[in-house]
């Protein structure tokens, strides 16, 4: 399934991470090829967040190595090639009086550096990113007036505006109603297929996701499965396991086969 002549966007080899004596990740190896849409699933406490933090260089794993675009994460400098959308609940200030346009234009600030202002080309880019996530009719609306799913789209547009090659999404559908979740994944699929964006989606709920991604990885301390979404769906056991009932089983499966 991987064409190995291309440098993987993310290459994780034998990664282990422990807090004290407690291992949260053990011997995890994972690759993300350019143009892939990987859904990384695992119940709460499965080490997803730890993996993500290590990937973003915010945390040092004890064993193993991570490479981003072929470079070791500790020395990685090209962070503008990576867009990251965090769980919105823990950071953004909901009453903030800013329009969708203003919020999305923030995505350019890191790249623009100090002393520079947004020019007409930048503004065009902002509008384009808003269009990609289908939020153009809401451009002048206040961010606080939008629904959870709409806000999440705005944050994705903010990450997209600086032209990343890889977009990482951490639990983007928390607090989004079921119907919007479907549309949301369809939108992501479009970004992946039409704009060639490599996507890494981290979620605790497989649910609707499998039909839209190209690859699936199941994590719970160990990597239990890593393959195409078709293989995943064919594997009845696993998909039932990580599927809709996953939150009921959260604490019950430790050493399930790999």
């Amino acid at each position: 399934m991987f064409t190995d002549n291309k440098i993987p966007v993310v290459d994780i080899k034998n990664l282990s991470f422990r807090y004290g004596n407690q291992y949260v990740l053990e011997d995890v190896s994972m690759r993300l090829a350019p143009g892939a849409f990987l859904g990384l699933v695992g119940p709460n406490g499965s080490g997803k967040s730890t993996l993500l933090k290590s990937l973003l260089g915010l945390q040092q794993p004890q064993k193993g190595e991570i490479r981003l675009f072929g470079e070791k994460v500790e020395k990685y400098k090209g962070w503008d090639r990576i867009g990251y959308v965090s769980q919105k609940a823990n950071s953004f200030n909901a009453g903030f009086p800013a329009t969708v346009f203003e919020v999305v234009s923030m995505g350019l600030f890191g790249k623009k550096g100090l002393f520079r202002f947004l020019n007409r080309k930048d503004k065009q880019k902002v509008r384009e990113a808003i269009e990609w996530v289908g939020m153009t009719p809401y451009e002048k609306r206040n961010i606080g007036e939008l629904s959870g799913g709409q806000q999440q789209r705005v944050f994705i547009a903010r990450a997209l505006v600086s032209d990343p090659e890889l977009l990482i999404l951490d639990e983007p559908t928390v607090g989004v109603d079921a119907k919007s979740v479907q549309n949301f994944y369809t939108m992501l699929e479009g970004l992946n297929k039409e704009h060639g964006l490599t996507l890494l989606l981290v979620t605790h709920d497989v649910g609707a996701m499998t039909r839209h991604v190209t690859d699936v990885a199941c994590l719970n301390k160990f990597l239990h499965f890593h393959g195409s979404s078709k293989e995943f769906e064919a594997n009845q056991d696993l998909s039932a396991f990580y599927g809709h009932d996953v939150h009921l089983l959260t604490h019950e499966h430790g050493g399930h086969g790999s």
């Binding site: 973003l56 962070w79 990251y84 965090s86 823990n90 950071s91 953004f92 200030n93 903030f96 009086p97 800013a98 329009t99 346009f101 203003e102 919020v103 234009s105 923030m106 995505g107 600030f109 890191g110 623009k112 100090l114 002393f115 202002f117 947004l118 002048k140 206040n142 629904s147 903010r158 109603d177």
Partner: protein, 289 residues
């Protein structure tokens, strides 16, 4: 009514200073309010009083100090207080707001000790507490002009960084913005503006000028940019009309300005409520929980 302000130098000083602080205080106030830090202005204004009291005390014992404008000592203390607040915010990571009462009460305590050492209150001190139309000197005016230039330049240069940082600190840090440095510089700017505004509105009411116009603007603004436009317009309106009426009615300017700002705020809230009343109730029915 207004021409008297151009006839006398002391009134000119007050008028131009008023225009500058009517602009500066709401400008920084917008960031303070959205960062949920509006109380910091209160803490810093009390620390400024400590500086003023210290200066008055020193001039009693050291003759050379008589020549030093107490405003400078106020600025020095206010900036020092700002740096201390920043330090304390890192000591109490989970209770950041604790820095405010610590600095506020510490400042006022020290100030009261200085005042009693200097044999109590006098008119000078009262002018600093409640503001005065006649107390603003030419030197004050030039100092405040300097502050205006520094603060405005800072905001223009770092507008987008401050905006991002106020909106979403975590993402701003991920995007590589120098979070600590920016925050520190910003709080120093707040200290400068407080020292500048104190002459006219008085220490006890400085923070009102940073929060009330912003609170009123919030009722109208549809974007972050509009927040600034409305807040500054409201701030200027309150300061200019407050100064003129305070002079003609022989009232303390600080109180008059703040009461005008409160009036505008109440009006804004009421008009919004009346106009949006039906819309709001419809929206709350339609929106899923």
């Amino acid at each position: 009514m207004i021409e008297v302000f151009f006839r006398f130098e002391f009134l000119q000083n007050a008028f131009f200073t008023g225009i500058m602080i009517g602009f500066l205080a709401p400008l920084l106030g917008v960031f303070l309010v959205v960062k949920r830090m509006s109380l910091i202005a209160d803490a810093l204004s009390h620390v400024t009083l400590t500086g003023i009291a210290f200066s008055l005390l020193m001039s009693k014992y050291v003759t050379a100090f008589v020549l030093v404008n107490p405003l400078y000592m106020g600025i020095a203390f206010s900036v020092g207080g700002a740096l201390l607040i920043e330090q304390l915010r890192h000591v109490y990571t989970y209770y950041k707001e604790l820095a405010i009462p610590i600095i506020l009460s510490g400042g006022i305590g020290l100030g009261v000790v200085f005042i009693s050492l200097a044999d109590g209150f006098n008119t000078d001190l009262f002018n600093y507490l409640f503001g005065s139309v006649i107390a603003v000197t030419r030197v004050d005016l030039w100092t405040i002009l300097g502050i205006t230039v520094i603060v405005t330049t800072f905001i223009i240069i770092f507008y987008k960084e401050l905006f991002f940082l106020s909106f979403d600190e975590e993402q701003a840090a991920v995007a590589g913005l120098p979070r600590r440095w920016l925050h520190l510089m910003f709080i120093v700017m707040v200290a400068l503006v407080i020292a500048a505004s104190m002459r006219i509105v008085g220490i006890l009411l400085v923070s009102a000028l940073m929060s009330l116009p912003v609170a009123a603007a919030m009722q109208w603004a549809k974007s972050f940019k509009q927040m600034f436009i409305f807040a500054i317009l409201i701030g200027e309106g309150a300061v200019v009309f407050g100064l003129i009426s305070a002079y003609h009615l022989d009232l303390a300017p600080g109180g008059t300005i703040v009461m005008l700002a409160v009036g505008i705020l109440i009006l804004s809230i009421s008009v919004r409520k009346l106009r949006d009343g039906t819309v709001v109730s419809l929206r709350s029915i339609r929106r899923p929980a």
